[in-house]
Symmetry: C2
Subunit: 494 residues, 2 copies
């Protein structure tokens, strides 16, 4: 989830001053409502050292009635705690109904810091994840609202903050040698965090990533997340049968939204000569690697999604041009037919998964569930919310079986799409490519963009990543797709 | 789950002839209803070799309209299948909505036979369990009815059946060397089955154990299980909001019920001399072992449940008499107080879990959830059905942390209870022990017995077993408790 996060997010002072009084008032009111409705709440602050967990927790409780909450600072286990199962200390620190417990670092400590320190075996880590999931499921099944915040800062920012702390006598003691070790090995620690997020991002207790390089931004996003989650839970408590969904929606707010797409540099391009030269090289590499894949029995799954007229077809064509046609299949995905509709939505994709040594390319994919089906209401809210985990589980089955899995998002901007639509309409050979539906979808651009941003974050995993392709220039896009596939195969064969 | 199964169950011919026509008619009718309601159904037949999986599957489809079902015999993977993720072959064999798929051996093959053949690493086994749970959850979330049957026969019966098959030329080919190996190492194979049952007995796809030593009994129990499950699903499909529970209730039928309690030999007893002699020996052993536990930092959790006046108090007293009082705590469990009621039902038990080297004894336990709370309606059906898994998860956290966990059920019969109640009423020193509630509970004896039987099966695990104590003779009961604890500690210290 972290690799898709945009840490340049900032909030200007005026916007901050405008929003905070409102948020504080809302939070206070919701605390009272939750108390009356007997809703217990747990808020966990996790994330990088010096990301501001303690500070942000302090900001949040400003708006709370102090008689209704308790803060737990989770440090190294005490002797008493070390002598019991590792979840014991959290079971004994649960909030009662109607109360709020806040955790400065939490039950995830064991699978993060202890793992970094290599105190955990693989088998124990798996079993710890299972205990954590059971803990969270049991509590949320019992009516707990569980809010999990992950404060994200980059290596450079972290180093800067440590330096500032070390420079002053009063604060130097706060930076431990372990903190510095984790900064030095930021990438290794990040891989541990990524795995943890993937293993424990569930529909009953989802993670919210907080971009924390900018303090004001983080505060407002945390307040907004907590307020939204509490408002949802209150709604559910009042009408339990109609409101079964548990997920906390990503903050839908142009200021706060975690947007991957808005950061894409669409000016990237190649000249025709550059394109030709690269294309030839990459295609002949691809031809050779395809044979290698076959001999080494490695399956490959490539998914293509993107805006209408985003260039999926062209990219797939260039990718496969020199490949042995017996070794790959392109699966186009249209609306499901009657037989497909009579099965689980993943069934038709499972059926077409490649065997070892083969390449399966999907032109549109199982991600339809969290895009078109979500937006057009072809499935229930509960269903698309559950789908992130279902899709991650499916892709994990594929990568566990040795597959290379890559998903491409072909990104273009709205103007470029308009240009391509018109071109298609005017060109008799391309008119079949453009339908009324394309124009209708275009009207819902903003809704799609929000859904795509959420999808990219929740389903980009280290082993099955999303690759966003800068698509305004077709040459650039095609080369990037080919390059990405070639590099992934080369990395595997090494 | 298997250790509590009573394989002496039989059904006489008349009862069989009386029941079958009814069940067949019901099954046919329900198949039509499920078709109309678009309910897809998967029925998996697992269990020991020669337990009659194929034969019973054949019996079941007699009553089905052949246009509405398909049978899949799951053998070793084909070459095509081996080249894909292991769940692929099952994803491609899903029934469409309104149809039934039957599996003669199933997606569990990998975690049973492959494991027995030591083709799987521990880590891969864990990951296979996770894939299986994800598969079953995704499908049942999508409206699938999943019925999982485990056909249980004992080692002797299995050997007899193999012999019979081998004696005839026409059938000898059906017995493979692998079958015979699994019979020879029946205990090792059983441990693998036990773990599998524990890891995959969920509220959305629970296991039903079929006692299969007697063929007629097995047929009727399978029909009854399938009919009940389909009827439940039909009810749910018609009123989705009111019927959210997914578990298939154990067959509540005096003929078919899986009863552990009815098999207990309550005539077991000791004379006063035998008792005195054993008691003294065991208590001094216990005293020594208690010190050892402390030095080795092993925590011990002992739960006591049983009928009112079943002898819990007396047994606990004899157990602890010679133990160092600083090293154990007896936690009595009454109705929850206000603070306890404001928390998750497991919270008050977690709080009292022992630290390493200490012994925690619970006089009544967390199992109240699936007994008194279930029967008196203090929790919802969904809540107590979910509790089996929740309790197993909690006990797994304890045993993972190194604890010895044993649960005792103090069994007496109804006459003995009446005798003890009266004695208590007549003895001024014991009158406080007997209340009106005890008499009220006694009236619900049959309901409690059914709940206890289900509890014993669903929550007796190899690492946290239930021990049923024959309690009509108090001497016998006390010695058995002491003996069990002493042996468990000795086994651990070895």
């Amino acid at each position: 989830m972290l690799e898709k996060i945009d840490l340049t997010k900032k909030l200007d002072k005026n916007e901050y001053k405008k929003r905070m009084p409102q948020l504080e008032a809302q939070l206070g009111r919701l605390q009272r409502e939750c108390k009356e409705l007997n809703i217990p709440i747990m808020i966990a602050f996790e994330g990088y050292d010096a990301a501001g967990k303690g500070l942000q927790l302090g900001e949040l409780i400003h708006a709370l009635d102090p008689r209704g909450f308790q803060v737990h600072a989770v440090k190294k286990e005490t002797e008493e705690e070390a002598m019991r199962p590792f979840m014991w200390r959290f079971w004994t620190k649960l909030p009662a109904k109607g109360r709020i417990a806040l955790y400065d670092s939490s039950w995830y400590r064991k699978v993060l810091i202890d793992r970094f320190d290599q105190k955990m075996k693989d088998k124990d880590t798996q079993s710890a994840y299972q205990s954590i999931r059971a803990f969270e499921q049991q509590l949320t099944d019992g009516g707990m609202l569980m809010i999990k915040l992950f404060l994200d800062i980059d290596q450079k920012e972290q180093k800067k903050r440590f330096k500032k702390l070390l420079d002053s006598k009063e604060t130097a003691w706060r930076v431990t040698p372990q903190d510095l070790a984790r900064n030095k090995e930021y990438d290794r620690y990040t891989a541990i965090n990524e795995e943890m997020l993937q293993e424990t991002d569930t529909d009953y207790a989802p993670w919210t990533i907080i971009e924390a390089n900018d303090r004001r931004f983080a505060t407002v996003k945390i307040y907004t997340t907590v307020v939204n989650a509490m408002a949802e839970q209150v709604k559910k408590a009042k009408k339990p049968l109609e409101n079964k969904s548990k997920i906390i929606p990503l903050v839908a707010d142009p200021y706060l939204e975690t947007s991957t797409l808005s950061k894409v540099d669409l000016s990237l391009s190649y000249t025709r000569e550059e394109y030709k030269e690269r294309l030839e090289k990459l295609q002949s590499k691809m031809e050779k690697l395809h044979g290698e894949l076959y001999r080494k029995r490695i399956p490959v799954v490539l998914g293509f999604e993107g805006w209408d007229a985003g260039g999926k077809g062209g990219a797939i064509k260039r990718l496969t041009e020199k490949m042995d046609s017996r070794g790959y299949v392109v699966n186009p995905t249209a609306s499901p037919n009657d037989i497909e509709r009579a099965h689980h939505y993943l069934w038709r994709f499972w059926k077409n998964m490649p065997k070892a040594g083969h390449v399966a390319i999907f032109d549109r994919t199982w991600y339809g569930r969290v895009m078109v089906e979500r937006i057009e209401g072809f499935c229930t809210t509960e269903e698309w919310q559950r789908a992130y985990k279902e899709i991650n589980d499916m892709e994990k089955d594929l990568t566990d079986a040795g597959a290379i899995v890559i998903k491409f998002w072909m990104q273009i901007d709205k103007d470029e799409q308009a240009r391509r639509f018109k071109e298609r309409q005017q060109n008799p050979d391309k008119q079949w490519k453009i339908t009324d539906e394309d124009w209708r979808n275009r009207e819902k651009w903003d809704q799609y963009e929000a859904a795509v941003n959420e999808m990219l974050i929740r389903t980009s995993t280290p082993k099955a990543p999303w690759v966003v392709v800068e698509g305004n220039d077709k040459y650039y896009a095609r080369i990037k797709v080919l390059e990405t596939v070639v590099e992934a195969i080369e990395a595997r064969l090494k």
